[in-house]
Symmetry: C2
Subunit: 209 residues, 2 copies
DNA sequence: GTCTATATCTTGATAGAC
DNA sequence: GTCTATCAAGATATAGAC
């Protein structure tokens, strides 16, 4: 019998599918309503089960939410690093940053609710959860940090630019898009193009780049 | 006896002060913990009263939270519009945008917890609250919209730039700063300078501007 | 105006049948 | 594995004293 290994349990195929349904439902509810008002009953209803069924897979509501947010973070990071890995080694760093911007936005708006659930709830996490998640966040942050440092070292950035501030402002612009994009009439490709454009021109040393 | 008029009640000075204490405590707790985990008891403790005292001023927890978020939104808008009003009429639109960026960031990080509480919880509001708040949000959005339109009409923006996407990306970059700035070692002035710089260069038609 | 005491309600979580 | 039924905890909200 094919099995899937998770944190603390060996699950059959059917079981794994049900867990995935619950997790996906949680991601959807967390995206729409936020951690504040996402009740276990809402998640269960969206998954088509009764609330107690969730406890077969998760020890607590918190554990479920943490799993969703982690999936979202990892999903974003995976998508971005894969996109970067496909690039030629000597791609200019500013081009790499644009690729990262596009991949991050596509992860948020194309991939699934997990990524959106993650960014929309990461600031609401209780402190212990935040602590457990820190390693993942830092690792993803370093991906961007490296891009910015490469850009600087290759002379593609404007002199005197504060790297950390610039990096977090760019990521912030992307992470805030779930707050408005779905309600806007802006096509995803336009959003991506505008974000790449603002980023590139905002950072570049060479005015014509 | 001097009085202050609020939504549905005439309050004495002392009463008004207590309400302000409760509101400020709520702003602080909402900023630190978020709507999800902000209990009424926490707010009361931070205000130095017992939980039931809150019901003398607010009919419900929701009403209190809504008041805090509204104060924060209005505070930001006021600060930004005042800063803009102080400018000379024929200030270049891109300079106006920079002034707005600075005022928005200072409102978030200097003014009080209200503004931070607002941006950090605006996405977690229940739907009815969101509906009631929409008018305020739209009005503030129009302030920015007008700036961007001025910039475009005066030929200061790059051709083909999607105004709506650009505007919301810029605001998003600012609104996301509460998620990281306090933990960073970036001085506020550096944050502001970087944000102005990225925005200006990102938007400008003239590379040397 | 604010407190103590308490009622009420919601919801996360468990027990146990199937 | 998932359900029905129920518990326990914690929060909002109210009553009434002061």
């Amino acid at each position: 019998m094919p099995t899937v290994e998770t944190a603390s349990r060996v699950l059959t195929d059917k079981s794994a599918r049900t867990q995935e349904r619950i997790r996906a439902a949680a991601a959807q509810v967390l995206t729409e309503r936020g951690m504040a008002t996402a009740r276990l009953g809402d998640i269960a209803a969206a998954a088509g089960v009764q609330a107690p069924a969730i406890y077969y897979y998760y020890a607590s509501r918190e554990e479920l939410i943490e799993d969703v947010i982690r999936q979202g973070q990892i999903g974003t990071e995976t998508r971005v690093t894969q996109a970067l890995d496909e690039l030629d080694e000597q791609t200019p760093a500013l081009d790499k940053i644009c690729v990262a911007v596009e991949a991050h936005l596509r992860a948020l708006h194309e991939l699934s609710d997990y990524t959106t659930a993650a960014v929309r709830n990461v600031g609401q996490m209780p402190t212990e959860m935040r602590a457990r998640m820190q390693a993942d966040q830092r690792r993803y942050g370093r991906v961007w940090k490296r891009l910015f440092e490469q850009a600087r070292d290759q002379g593609e950035l404007r002199e005197g630019l504060d790297l950390r501030a610039a990096q977090l402002l760019v990521i912030g612009a992307l992470n805030w898009t779930p707050e408005w994009w779905a309600d806007s009439s802006v096509p995803l490709d336009t959003l991506i193009a505008t974000a790449c454009d603002l980023t590139r021109r905002g950072l570049a040393a060479d005015p014509r780049s």
